[in-house]
Symmetry: C2
Subunit: 216 residues, 2 copies
């Protein structure tokens, strides 16, 4: 339930309060923090490197010592967010029994929570073509995260993890939580005056699309 993307106080930098000198000391990390804040604050399409640099207290040219260009800095933020979301997914499913439908529901809820808590980042991760369409790192990271879902579905359905049906049903679940996440952060759900219990809906979906396969 935490999804903390903000303060990067873990893996503490070599110089925590390096401000006095000519060299910053920990600019890369603090730039990423600034970018995350700005993306959340002003939207990924209105964020500027220059503002991130000001926020970190350096000149507008300094970021280019650490990142090739704007797409590169955004890619770093995206990769970090995907990784953390994957970790969070593994965490939230752990309390529930192996092979249970509750594990699947927990994964879906985790995905939705992430979008709600970090809509700007979510928009950035998806939605933005920003030159990293076929990027290998991002693809690999995505496959790993989606693998968690496939595995949970396969375990529930008593299938080998590489069974096509597991991937197929996992994908259906993904489309659902993905679409719901987008509609939530775009305000479309509210605009339609829909009074829907999210948890109930999520259960209905996993029941209708996955649990229904257990008794043939």
């Amino acid at each position: 339930m935490d999804h903390t993307l903000n303060a990067d106080s873990s893996s503490l930098p070599k110089k925590v309060t390096a401000k006095a000198g000519y060299h910053h000391g920990d600019l890369r990390t603090q730039l990423l923090n600034a970018v995350r804040l700005l993306v959340e604050e002003k939207g990924a399409e209105n964020f500027s490197i220059a503002e991130a640099a000001r926020k970190a207290g350096v000149s507008t040219a300094a970021p280019y010592r650490h990142f090739e260009d704007k797409p590169a800095i955004l890619k770093a933020v995206v990769l970090d967010a995907m990784t953390r979301n994957g970790e969070e997914m593994r965490r939230v499913m752990q309390p529930f029994p192996f092979g249970s439908i509750e594990r699947i529901n927990a994964l879906g809820q985790c995905y939705i929570d992430f979008a709600r808590q970090h809509p700007g980042i979510f928009r950035l991760v998806f939605g933005f073509s920003e030159k990293h369409d076929g990027d290998e790192d991002l693809t690999a990271c995505g496959r790993e995260v989606f693998g968690i879902v496939i595995e949970a579905v396969a375990n529930y359905l008593d299938l080998p993890p590489n069974h096509p049906m597991a991937a197929e049903r996992a994908y259906m679940l993904w489309t659902f939580v993905h679409g719901h996440s987008w509609l939530i952060i775009d305000g479309k759900t509210k605009a339609q005056d829909l009074q829907i219990d999210e948890g109930v809906m999520l259960s209905a979906v996993s029941d209708g699309l996955i649990a229904s396969l257990r008794q043939p």
Copy 2:
């Protein structure tokens, strides 16, 4: 199956080939056409008013005689796209019997087709907060389009169109096609090596989430 957003030869302008004079004659329409092309070509986040103006053969200041600012010109494109998509939805469901599940499936397929055929516009319609978050015109248009889906679901389930369950199940269908559309145009589906028949999946979803309610 057409979703033609490009040539606006319908509702023909007063002067079709007004190019010679100081005044353009049909700048507003041609600007919108240029914007649509550019959004599709370079992505909504990289489109610029200046380039649209060049494409229409006028100075970079001219567009501001017809649109307040960048969000306004994008809003016009979005409204047009939503309207046309709504019309297309009404068209594709017509061949199927009133109250049939095929009508529902046709609506879903139409939504997905639109995204696949106009990914740039789709990204613009959703995904972009671009200052029209709570815009009344867009909200009204969206409610009207979504109303088509609610109605089809209500008819199939033999419910009054304002029954909460109709809206609820319609929303589930929406989340599914919306999420699938995003994943398709983001290339995520391909990145995951998923071999899924879209029509089969769509049927499975409407079966699992809607048809299952008919026999209680």
